[in-house]
């Protein structure tokens, strides 16, 4: 980050290549749109570049980055609330399970994606930060600015809803 603060774009490129996939996955899981996820990913690293001088290593860089991503996702969601984005077509989902046919896997992914999309925004964001980014409750609270108890409550409620919606998909 010191090199990035000095304006070195090669240092920023290193950061981008190291974290872009996780950032993009996180944004895509929250927003449900690959294009919006790409926009968030680009904007997040641009903000990192322009704010590098103010960065203080009081926490892990990833936690700070996810905070930026969480805020951007939240802003995108607020703006898109008036214009619901169409769900991407099922054929864009890659097969992730060898035991299922591609069509079955695509349908399964669709069910999960729609179930996650139906969660309230706060629950979805906490769930994505917890499951995809692997952040602890305290780190999620720091990233979102919410209290740790609120984060834990959102996480429990998200899992409750998903347990109901995906009950028929439960593996033995």
């Amino acid at each position: 980050m010191r090199h990035v603060a000095d304006g070195r774009q090669d240092a920023l490129a290193t950061l981008v290549r190291r974290h872009q996939e996780r950032v993009r996955r996180l944004a895509c899981r929250f927003l449900g749109s690959p294009d919006e996820a790409d926009d968030v990913c680009q904007e997040a690293f641009l903000r990192v570049y322009h704010a590098a001088r103010e960065y203080r290593p009081t926490a892990a860089f990833a936690t700070w980055l996810y905070r930026v991503v969480a805020n951007l996702c939240w802003d995108h969601r607020r703006r898109a609330a008036r214009r619901p984005a169409p769900l991407p077509p099922p054929d864009q989902h890659p097969a992730a399970d060898d035991r299922r046919t591609p069509a079955e896997q695509a349908e399964l992914d669709d069910r999960v994606r729609q179930a996650v999309a139906r969660l309230p925004d706060r629950q979805r964001l906490v769930l994505v930060l917890h499951r995809d980014a692997g952040l602890s409750h305290r780190e999620i609270a720091e990233a979102t600015g919410w209290s740790q108890s609120a984060v834990e409550s959102c996480l429990v409620r998200a899992y409750r809803q998903l347990r109901v919606e995906l009950s028929d998909l439960r593996e033995a």
Binding site: R17, Q20, D38, C41, L46, H93, P94, S136, Y159
Partner: protein, 163 residues
């Protein structure tokens, strides 16, 4: 029997429980069917979320970022709080300077020359002059010497007049 919280079961599924808590929870799950079923449901959700792969992106992040960095950011594209920040700072500095100057002035000027009090005092002075009350002005601490002198001068005149 202490049943684990749902949050603990979520953390167990995520592998975030400390070692001792994990052992205790698993020991309980081995003996409690209700909690074991709940833990299984939560673990299934956790697993399903991990198996879900978002669609692959079509753009390379660094290519977009490099292009954005090579294009200077126009002033209008910046948030209004960034564009206005320099003006806000200048205005705040002027306000603080004027305010401090005003306060300093109030503290250094004699009270009788400050604002409405000075006006009232000026009116009192004008009235005192009209009533010839200036005779009470004196350099003595008590201010009585001039009065005494006047009175004594008046007494002496009276003595001269009386037969």
């Amino acid at each position: 029997m202490n049943h684990p919280r749902e949050l603990d079961l979520i953390e167990l599924a995520a592998g975030h429980l400390p070692e001792q808590a994990r052992r205790q929870t698993e020991e309980h799950l081995a003996t409690c069917e209700t909690c074991h079923r709940l833990a299984s449901e939560i673990a299934a959700v956790h697993c399903r979320l991990g198996a879900w792969a978002p669609p692959a992106g079509s753009r390379d992040a660094w290519t977009d970022i490099e292009q954005a960095l090579s294009t200077p950011r126009p002033l209008r594209s910046r948030p209004i709080w960034q564009r206005a920040s320099w003006a806000v700072r200048v205005a705040a500095a002027l306000l603080i300077g004027v305010g401090m100057g005003h306060i300093a002035g109030r503290l250094t000027l004699p009270p009788d020359q400050v604002g409405p009090l000075a006006d009232a005092e000026a009116a009192d002075v004008a009235a005192a002059e009209e009533l010839s009350l200036h005779v009470f002005e004196s350099t003595s601490p008590s201010g009585l010497f001039a009065i005494y002198s006047e009175l004594m001068a008046g007494e002496e005149e009276n003595r001269e007049v009386r037969p």
